[in-house]
Symmetry: C2
Subunit: 202 residues, 2 copies
């Protein structure tokens, strides 16, 4: 594709480095910005710059934050004895949106993946181990994806923690609420049967 | 959705003002930028700012350009007697990519649309009329979309130009190359029959 201007070409190139944005979509975004008021482009440009320069990570849980300690860790109303271990910031937001969990988090920043060259040292695992010791954590909930790599990561951490006297669990796997059995895959269905829940009838 | 940081919230808000980007996609883009090198965010931010500040429109054809006169208008190898009238810059790029057209362009910047409040005065029509007079244009090709508004726009311009002795035409409408008759809509098919092309057998 030949662009009518070097500035357009450069902007299209930068936009199309973002995930899910190809050169056609990038061009559409660029032409949209040109049509709209100058202030919109300026606001977008500034927010990207500020974001990258001023963002911090919570010193305790490695969540994204404006301050040294994030709002969740600083909240005195949370249960400080339970840690929910998640892969990234989006998972924290998803769990927070349920409004059901009152403990703290620990963001790993990824999962162990030899194929992608991610080793335990690349993740926030050491800080998790220190935190378990220093902060008298009593329970850890692994809220990771249901993949081989995520299972490996949970297994690796649980091994490291086996001498500490803490309860460890993983979020339940099974048929989603509203899901129909006939459309569930075999592995999920088999697992939901083997890990069936006992009815309380008392 | 609760965001862990005001900076994230601001960036998500700005990204989701772009067409086709909702708040979930915007968050994905923002977290992607945070994961990648700082230089990438900086390059994106700068390219947006430069784009909006330094872009110009060609004084002749209203195409986007780095200079006062765009590369197409400045090219001495183009046929300066034919003008192709298009709606926007993307159409110029699409036609240029065919490599088949050697004349010049005129970018209207939109089409007449009473519903959207776009009148002839909002478009680059006056400059087109002046150009036809001043530059001794002999032929105008309307390469507009196949909509009622586009037809109205072409009709409006052709009325204004009726006293000038120039040839006017519209790009051909019909079955696309590789298109199958059974899937063509009735109007296109009917038009392709009424405007059939005579075989040259000599």
């Amino acid at each position: 594709m030949q662009y009518p201007s070097r500035l357009i070409e450069k902007a299209v190139e930068e936009f199309s480095r973002l995930p899910g944005i190809g050169s056609k979509t990038a061009l559409r975004l660029v032409l949209h910005l040109l049509k709209k008021d100058k202030s919109q482009s300026q606001a977008l440009s500034e927010s990207i710059q500020e974001l990258r320069e001023n963002i911090r990570y919570c010193e305790k849980c490695c969540n994204i934050s404006d301050k040294n300690i994030c709002e969740i860790c600083a909240n005195p109303g949370r249960d400080t004895e339970i840690l929910c271990v998640v892969q990234d910031v989006r998972d924290v937001m998803a769990i927070e949106n349920t409004g059901q969990y009152r403990g703290l988090y620990h963001v790993l920043g990824g999962i162990i993946s030899p194929i992608e060259g991610i080793s335990p040292n690349d993740l926030n695992i050491d800080s998790l181990l220190n935190r378990v010791k220093d902060d008298a954590i009593k329970e850890i909930i692994f809220a990771l994806s249901s993949t081989m790599e995520a299972d490996t990561t949970a297994f690796y951490i649980s091994k490291k923690l086996k001498d500490n006297d803490i309860k460890m669990s993983s979020i339940a796997r099974g048929i989603p609420i509203g899901g129909e059995l006939e459309y569930a895959d075999e592995i999920t269905l088999a697992r939901s049967i083997s890990q069936r829940m006992t009815y309380r009838t008392n």
